[in-house]
């Protein structure tokens, strides 16, 4: 029909089609790109309250003795955890820069060994990047032998630079049973 065109309509249609398909496929890829992108944003801003998963190696520069920040600890049991999981210290007042030790413990009342993973979360999220842990049970998976009561220490200090308006925050841990996941099985899906 458009004989006066240098390219036939079919030819042009194919070209446009190709471009649009490439775009659609790229946007599918973009959805997956959002995952690392989100994680980076969270690392920078503490958006989702995640604390660093590696131990802080530097000692605090100074202790800010004229400020105290209240840190509260709460614990939750995720799927598959039937035992206890709690912190011996419920709240602690610390000076920024002061190194503090708190104890958590978990029990495994079942008859078989259990691999657990604890996931930290800080509320409000912006406090997360000022919380430095030099030692934490959450850095690694913890194996609880059958019937064991395990002491799980956590050592932390607050960044001396923590903003003035943060004078209290909550650190929450949720413990999950990851035995099956470690054994290489798929995450089983609850069917209700």
């Amino acid at each position: 029909m458009s004989d006066n065109q240098p390219l036939s309509v079919e030819e042009r249609n194919k070209r446009t089609l190709k471009k649009l398909v490439i775009w659609a496929v790229a946007m599918f890829g973009f959805a997956f790109l959002m995952v690392p992108f989100y994680n980076v944003i969270c690392d920078i801003t503490g958006l989702n309250g995640k604390t660093s998963s590696t131990a802080a190696t530097q000692a605090p520069e100074k202790v800010v003795a004229d400020r105290t920040v209240t840190v509260e600890f709460i614990t939750q049991r995720g799927d598959g955890i039937s035992g206890e999981f709690t912190s011996e210290t419920k709240r602690v007042k610390v000076h920024p820069g002061e190194i503090t030790l708190v104890h958590f413990y978990a029990t495994n009342p079942t008859g078989s060994d259990m691999v657990t993973q604890s996931i930290p979360s800080v509320t409000p999220g912006e406090a997360a990047r000022y919380l430095h842990k030099t030692q934490c049970f959450c850095f690694d998976q913890q194996t609880l032998a059958a019937g064991e009561r395990k002491d799980m220490p956590m050592i932390f200090y607050l960044d001396p630079e923590i903003p003035r308006h943060i004078n209290q925050f909550t650190l929450s841990y949720t413990i999950f049973d990851v035995t099956e996941r470690v054994a290489g099985k798929n995450n089983s899906v609850a069917v209700n």
Binding site: M1, R12, L20, M34, L47, T174, V189, A190, V191, N192
Partner: protein, 535 residues
Amino acid sequence: MSTAAATHDDHHDHHHAPTGLKRWLFSTNHKDIGTLYLWFSFAMFLVGGFMAMVIRAELLEPGMQFVDPEFFNQMTTVHGLVMVFGAVMPATVGLANWMIPLMIGAPDMALPRMNNWSFWILPFAFGILIFAVLMSAFGAGNPSAPNFGWTFYAPLSTKYGPASTDLFILSVHMMGISSIMGAINVVVTVFNMRAPGMTLMKMPLFVWTWLITAFLLIAVIPVLAGAVTMMLTDRHFGTSFFDAAGGGDPVLFQHVFWFFGHPEVYIMILPSFGIVSAIIPAFARKPLFGYASMVYATASIALLSFVVWAHHMFTVGMPLAGTLFFMYMTMLISVPTGVKVFNWVATMWRGSLTFELPMKWAIAFVILFTCGGLSGLMLAITPVDFQYHDTYFVVAHFHYVLVTGAIFSIFAAAYYWLPKWSGVMPSKLLGELHFWNSLISANLLFFPMHFVGLAGMPRRYADYALQFADYNFWISIGGFWFGLSQVIFLIVAIRCAMKKGEPAPAKPWDGAEGLEWEVPSPAPFHTFDTPPVIK
């Protein structure tokens, strides 16, 4: 079910289309496929509407009467999915199929076989989803249909999702493929198939709004596909995108979902803007006020829709700077939207208005969509959103923009173009009944939801506190009334399909403009084999 069946006697020597079932199964004709889309979407509208009736029956009185809460959750979930993906979106795709080639003087859509495929995927996609509901309603054992809300937030849909979530994932993938193909077809058609002289800035606004919608679809439906793929691998292949135990984050799901979800709401409303921009000038007998500003406003809305998604999730705990950014961006959208509403009103200003059926629906659209827009502006304000979040106020807001917005405009389009599609005028009496009943009942149904929402009634529960009883009673009455009113439209549509009614001239509305009115009514099976001359 044919509105174009009578066009067979139209003499085109290369016309050798199959008849009967094969005509519809193998159709590559944009008009037939448009008809299929429109009937399919209306069927889905009735199916989703039936689910809404179940919801409103349960909420007629406080306490549990008809269904258990588990089934109630499945109803709210599938009602939302069917209405969004099955009713509104295919209806606008159907309108695009029918009207875009006619409006730009093209003989057909650019990729007719893909067009056929993109339609015929849909019945299977929704068959799968509705199969899950039927299994749940009449089920052996205890299978649950998807029950996590149409937004399918993780971990409700991953760790705690019922087995039928996998049916849902497959279904969403198929709907997505259908939408993407439909959108690609629109873009290719508009770019390459316009009649000589039909420059971009001469295109009717319906074509413009659909072109922009198509770009939105190609940009965000793949993101939805990505989200459900992540759900699938989280459920069965040991990944942890959204699973905190494995280092993932359920909030990530909400970001990915709403990155798709917010442009999606404009995908549903932009074609409506195009429809009323065609209808209002026709019955005001004046050209559209500010054509170019309409095009730019539509494009700005589309661009802004990519940077407002987190206003759906203010309560997840975002940094102050984040909430401020999303709040201001959301409010900024009211500027181009305001331009549009202003232009529609300015088009009517001092026009020679007449109030035929399409115009009635279009004016109702302008007023009620603006109501929905205003409650949206209230929801955009972060601190008050904390109170409104997940209440019936939100339900009222999005039903105003989707029912009295998108769906009213689709009805406007149907009454406006039915003469062209079927060759007969839709029944005036039935049309008036349909309009007034729908208008009054929709407001009885959705307006009190604002009040119960502000008073704190949460969404998605099968029961409510006693103080909400009176309002909910009237909301339910409005719901049943609105549902029954739609049966009137079914009769209108069937009468048109059966050619019952006054024969329509080529241009039944004297103020209407556009190429579609230059072909006879009903539009012949093949149109614009030789491109029309554009003035």
